[in-house]
């Protein structure tokens, strides 16, 4: 902990608001990385049907279905916590920020389990039909 203290990270106790802030920041950075790759992948539409379908075959392989479960977590958390921030900043919900965080976790968690299980189901279905896990 000494190194953390000297770097200034333990000036605050790790409580709800700081965890919410850190998760928002980390998921946001992950989403910037994803959206950059996403725009690049979708731009292969310009190269015609063959190239686009070949690219989509790679990014819709089971490996990426599993990675997309992580992406879904980032999207759901960042979106719901973003709504929480708007409630805090514009609608005077500052004193309710802790229950709002738990609402984000419970609603987001439910949506993540629902969406994520569908995606994993899709990946397992592909694997059962003999598709390789790695598209490379």
């Amino acid at each position: 902990m000494a190194s953390l203290r000297t770097r200034g990270y333990s000036h605050y106790r790790w409580r709800t608001g700081q965890i919410a802030w850190l998760l928002h920041r980390l998921t946001g950075l992950a989403l910037v990385l994803y959206v950059s790759m996403h725009i690049w992948v979708v731009s292969t539409l310009q190269l015609g049907e063959g190239t686009f379908e070949a690219t989509m075959a790679v990014v819709q392989a089971p490996l990426f279905r599993f990675l997309e479960v992580g992406l879904l977590f980032c999207v759901i958390y960042h979106a719901l916590n973003g709504l929480r921030l708007i409630a805090i900043d514009f609608f005077g919900a500052t004193e309710k920020h802790v229950p709002l965080f738990w609402a984000v976790i419970i609603l987001g968690g439910a949506a993540w389990i629902w969406g994520g299980s569908t995606m994993i189901g899709h990946a397992l279905h592909q694997l059962e039909h003999g598709q390789a896990f790695f598209p490379f």
Binding site: L29, S36, Q46, L47
Partner: protein, 146 residues
């Protein structure tokens, strides 16, 4: 700008960025919900060339996707800038990194806009070969006035 929002402070650069980050974020929640609905629920989960090109032939979807693209890149660039300002304190590296962040967003904006506005096959190949004239012809052949 946006001074009607009493809690936005002085209305100088920082507070404009702050309130615009919330407005673009709200827009993205709505747009991303529709994006998931159309691309991952209503079509059974697989994205195909036919489906995407059919949808993108509609001016309505082109407009929606362009608004979506601009908001996501504004929001992403602004998010990167906030991170750079928080951790990079020396002026020169800060200016360089902020410039690189916005340069990335501009490149993505051009790539995304080209993809949405015209689906002429071979368009990017021509651009990669540096045939600017061919690119302009391709845009004009799509009926876009330059």
């Amino acid at each position: 700008m946006l001074k009607m929002l009493a809690r936005t402070g002085t209305g100088s650069g920082g507070s404009n960025a702050w309130v615009l980050q919330r407005i673009s974020g709200l827009l993205l929640v709505v747009a991303l919900f529709l994006h998931y609905l159309f691309l991952h629920f209503l079509n059974g989960g697989d994205v195909t060339w036919n489906e995407v090109t059919t949808r993108l032939a509609s001016p309505l979807f082109k407009t929606i996707d362009l608004i979506f693209l601009v908001s996501v890149l504004f929001h992403a660039g602004q998010g990167l800038v906030i991170n750079i300002h928080d951790y990079i304190h020396r002026p020169a590296p800060r200016v360089i990194l902020v410039s690189l962040a916005w340069l990335l967003m501009i490149v993505l904006l051009i790539t995304g806009t080209v993809t949405i506005v015209t689906l002429e096959p071979g368009f990017l190949q021509e651009m990669q070969m540096g045939q600017a004239a061919g690119v302009i012809d391709a845009i004009q052949s799509q009926g876009v006035a330059l």
